[in-house]
Amino acid sequence: MDWDLGKFWKQDWMSWTITIMMILLCVTGVLFIRSAQAGEEGALSRVWVSQAVYMCIGLVVYFIVMMIDYRLYIRFSWLIYIVSMVLLVAVLVVGEEVNTTKGWLRIAGVGIQPAEPAKLAMTLLMATFLGSIKIDPTRVFNIIVALVIFLIPLGLVFLQPDFGSAIVMVPVAFAIMYVAGAKKTHLLIIAIIGFTLSLLLWHDFIPGVKLKQYQKDRILSFTDHNRDWQGTGYQLRQTKIAMGSGGVFGKGYMKGTQSRMGYLPKAIRHSDAIVSVVGEEVGFLGCTALLIVYAILLLVGINIGIRSVEKTGKLVCAGIVVILFVHVYENVGMALGIMPITGIPLPLISNGGSFAIIVMGALGIIQSVNIHPKPQKNFI
């Protein structure tokens, strides 16, 4: 990397790097969704087509979002936040139960997971609050307010219970508070309190909220890989075999035996477990290439944040980048057996239309921060 990044970023127009990396990921995703379900018959074998359509919609969303000054989102971040929280409450009341989690809302025939926009809404509002010039992030009160913004969606997501989304929100909130300039001692105290609460939760000491046994199992199975191989551990064992057997170069696109023969569970091999298919078919080199693409995306996002003239823009970038990073780290990590198994998709690769659109929208916001360094004169 010997090109002058600084000069590259100084242009007023959008960052092509983000756009290219994003499209690269989208195409990769569609290809591997196709590969993962190629052996199936019926709707599953054509799921990549609908994903491609969603990707196109997402691309349009991306461009629209980036054209608009991000300050508009900041101004209305409280509204976005409230709408998201209403959706989170709604999903608890009228949501569809999938795999014992009440996480899906069906609106006009389209299924959405309110937890996904909630992460973004939380990021925007926290960034708005902590990025405001009037707010001193070193003050305890302000930190508490920021915590409340974080804890409301966390609690609602926990009630579904969507353990995966909850686990994403924690580092995102911490990152925003940290970058905003919160005192390290405050963050440490919050971390200790949070950790203690989780311990109490694990041991059922918190009245009213109980972890389901299968959630505990999922966490436990990552510490002991051979535990219950027909159930939770089976899935992990199979993803590891899939990735491991891919070796350096992989078995070739569409030639993954683990996915083709159904050892990777049909229900998740095109969504949460798709990295196993990638690992099996294109091996270590392919996976590393994929991680490098993500790394570029993340670093460019951070860079845009750093270069942002306003603190809010920086915090928005940091929050979104961390959301992406946590998704990548958790998703790949669980396939590798270094993270507990949670239902977290791999951004832009895993099947899932609404999440892909949200991710692309979020990248659009970063892009918007990039191309709107100064408030526009005719800004609403």
Binding site: G6, Y178, S245, V248, M261, Y263, F284, L291, I292, L298
Partner: protein
């Protein structure tokens, strides 16, 4: 680096964030490295292993044919209902139970199998045995990828119904296996033997794919020729997906079918002898070719149906066979019995051999007194008369004169008689490839020395041995071989039952070579003298009922004293035609009246049948005899051709396996040396049964009870 330049001092926290995320990506890459680059091979193996399923391809057991290629033991296709436990388990089953309210998948094989079997039973409209959960569990543990056989021999209509319904019955399949069948049913059951299921633990527990032969020969030729009949099982390694669908064939080794065993048996002769012997309660008959020792027929009655052991014998049937006092599983043709007078030609030949006797030598038929024992002729006991003052060899044999043979035996001497008996192989196994053959006993001075060292071979012993009583024990097969030696003029052949073994490629893999064990060092006219005596038995002596209208039949009757529960043994040894002997025949009936009245007529019928076998046209195919021929030709019903049992009833009993069945030894000869043969006697006055036996009881336990002179 320009990248770090752009971060700037005031954004240190952003830098740290970027660093932490980069670190995260590095951690992921490092883990990928250990998993994919370092552990690549290990995981490849694991992956390959779990996709591979070894399919066991059972070889078809070799067939057994008679000398003319007629099938005696066949391999027929049989359908069986198989459960692929591993597949059934993987999918689990959604059974709402009390504990399982939210209908999550159940992975307990017992529950899964039970529900599956219930479903199968409903869909196939067939009562199925209840799930034997322990057995199923054990099968799953030992052979996770081998199908579990739920029922064998599924009727074709059920197979058809299965294929109609198969889409809804996952985890079950119909397998085709070669199954043993004996087209003639009971015919030659004892020499063919039967097969038995092998317990699964007998195979290698360390290799989950190991799956030994399901059936092994347990008796008869099935057992002795098992290594040839078995063939080699094949194996097919296939890669399957999680639904059990085969994706590709990794390796395949075709099963090699077992070899074909050709017997010396002629199924037509066997049919005739079986027909004739069928009405007999307990007995045996053997026909051999006098010129080469080929066994043409071996019949032991009562018989059993070896088909009942396929696929597995039911408990009730097994119990019946085991507890039947007539011991239907016992092969009487190779079990030892006291011969009685059929042993007399041995003495004649011994005497002629050492020059102590000639054909012209005469002895009086009168009471022989040794010490205080009187040895009488049977005719004396029956009518008070005698065979005359000067009985020669021909008359002695013809009338089975004890007086002649007491004296002839004493003159010949115990050692010479013993030596002659050994030449014929008495007291030794013939080596015929059958299970549970017994050697019998050839008594004489060396034998006595070996078994009763303190005793002395007295003339009393000699006298007893001379008429086939005392310690002598022979098998019907030994007697048949003996008769053939007389018939062929002195050549002792080794009996042959298995002719050759041909493999699937028509290559000869084993041949039982003809073997002449010995030649009698007798002058031809001496053997002729004995032959003439045996001809006279049928012409004018005790065996008239064996006569054939056109063929000259020779023979010798025998009735041994009754011993134990099994009663008297009545015998007839025979050969024909007299001028150019071809066949030797032995008929033995337990508990008969006498050799002449019980066995000679049977022998006559057999001869009638054998010589009525229609000649085969040049290049024609030998066919089994028809029922019409057997009933019309010799007037006795035959064991009808048993059709292969294609549709056996399905019942729980069929799934039970039985352990190897040990053939019971005949009760009357558990001790070959005859020491235990002193059961109370209940003598009737019969031809050949000497009165002296009553007095000579002491002979049976010489050292303990003293000698003849008691």
């Amino acid at each position: 680096m320009s990248l770090s330049d752009t971060f700037g001092e005031k954004d240190k926290r952003m830098e740290i964030l970027a660093f932490l995320m980069s670190l995260g990506i590095v951690v992921l890459t490092a883990t990928l490295w250990t998993l994919q680059v370092v552990g690549g091979k290990t995981y490849s193996k694991l992956g390959n292993k779990q996709g591979i399923r070894a399919q066991y391809l059972a070889s078809a057991r070799g067939t057994i044919k008679d000398r003319n290629g007629i099938l005696l033991a066949d391999s027929r296709p049989s359908f069986r209902l198989e459960l692929y436990l591993h597949d059934m388990l993987r999918g689990g089953t959604k059974i709402p139970t009390k504990k399982n309210k939210n209908k999550r998948d159940v992975f307990d094989i017992g529950t899964v199998a039970e529900s599956k079997i219930k479903l199968l039973s409903q869909e196939l409209k067939v009562p199925l045995p209840a799930a034997h959960i322990k057995k199923i569990q054990r099968h799953l543990d030992l052979y996770p990828f081998q199908p579990y056989t739920l029922i064998d021999d599924v009727p074709p209509e059920v197979v058809a119904r299965f294929y109609e319904k198969s889409p809804i019955i996952s985890g079950a399949d119909i397998g085709v296996v070669a199954t043993r069948s004996y087209p003639f049913g009971n015919l030659a059951a004892h020499l063919l033997g039967h097969i038995g299921k092998v317990e699964v633990q007998k195979t290698d527990p360390n290799n989950p794919y190991a799956y030994g032969p399901a059936y092994l020969g347990k008796q008869g030729v099935e057992k002795t020729m098992n290594e040839y009949l078995l063939g080699e099982d094949g194996e097919r390694l296939v890669r399957v997906d999680t639904k059990g669908m085969i994706q590709e064939e990794v390796k395949s080794k075709s099963p090699i079918p077992g070899d074909t065993v050709y017997l010396t048996i002629d199924v037509r002769v066997q049919q005739i002898v079986e027909s004739v012997m069928q009405p007999i309660k307990r007995g045996a008959a053997v026909v051999v070719d006098v010129n080469n020792g080929n066994i043409l027929s071996m019949v032991s009655v009562p018989s059993y149906n070896p088909n009942s052991f396929v696929p597995a014998i039911s408990k009730a049937e097994f119990k019946r066979l085991k507890e039947d006092t007539d011991t239907p599983m016992l092969n009487r043709t190779i079990s030892s019995y006291p011969p009685g007078s059929i042993f007399k030609p041995v003495i004649a030949l011994a005497g002629l051999g050492n020059g102590k006797l000639t054909g012209k030598s005469t002895f009086p038929c009168s009471t022989l007194t040794l010490g205080n024992h009187s040895f009488n002729c049977w005719i004396f006991n029956q009518s008070g008369g005698s065979h005359g003052g000067a009985v020669d060899m021909k008359a002695g044999i013809a009338n089975s004169c004890n007086g002649y043979f007491f004296r002839a035996g004493i003159r010949t001497g115990g050692q010479a008689t013993y030596d002659m008996g050994k030449v014929f192989g008495f007291g030794e196994l013939t080596g015929v490839p059958l299970t549970s053959e017994t050697a019998g006993v050839m008594p004489g001075p060396p034998w006595l020395k070996a078994n009763f060292p303190k005793d002395r071979w007295t003339e009393g012993y000699v006298a007893n041995t001379s008429i086939g009583e005392g310690f002598v024990m022979v098998t019907p097969l030994q007697m048949a071989m003996f008769a053939s030696v007389i018939a062929n003029g002195g050549v002792v052949h080794r009996p042959r039952l298995v002719d050759k073994v041909i493999d699937a490629d028509d290559k000869l893999v084993y041949e039982d070579k003809r073997e002449i064990k010995a030649r009698l060092s007798l002058k031809p006219e001496d053997v002729e003298a004995v032959k003439a005596g045996m001809r006279a038995v049928v012409e004018e002596g005790t065996g008239k009922k064996a006569a054939h209208p056109t063929v000259k039949v020779s023979g010798k009757t025998g009735t041994s004293q009754s011993r134990g529960r099994s009663g008297k043994k009545t015998w007839f040894i025979s050969f024909a035609p007299y001028d150019k002997p071809q066949y030797a025949l032995v008929v033995m009936v337990e508990n008969g009246d006498s050799g002449g009245s019980t066995c000679a007529p049977l022998a006559g019928q057999i001869w009638q049948g054998i010589f009525a076998i229609p000649p085969i046209a040049e290049g024609g195919q030998v066919e089994p005899l028809t029922k019409e021929f057997l009933e019309g030709g010799i007037g006795i019903g035959i064991p009808a051709m048993v059709t292969p049992s294609g549709s056996r009833p399905i019942g729980p009993g069929l799934e039970d396996e039985e352990d190897e069945f040990e053939t019971e030894q005949p009760r009357n000869q558990q001790d070959n040396r005859g020491r235990d043969l002193n059961a109370p006697q209940n003598l009737e006055q019969e031809e050949d049964v000497p009165d002296f036996i009553k007095n000579a009881r002491g002979l049976r336990g010489p050292s303990r009870r003293g000698n003849v002179g008691d």
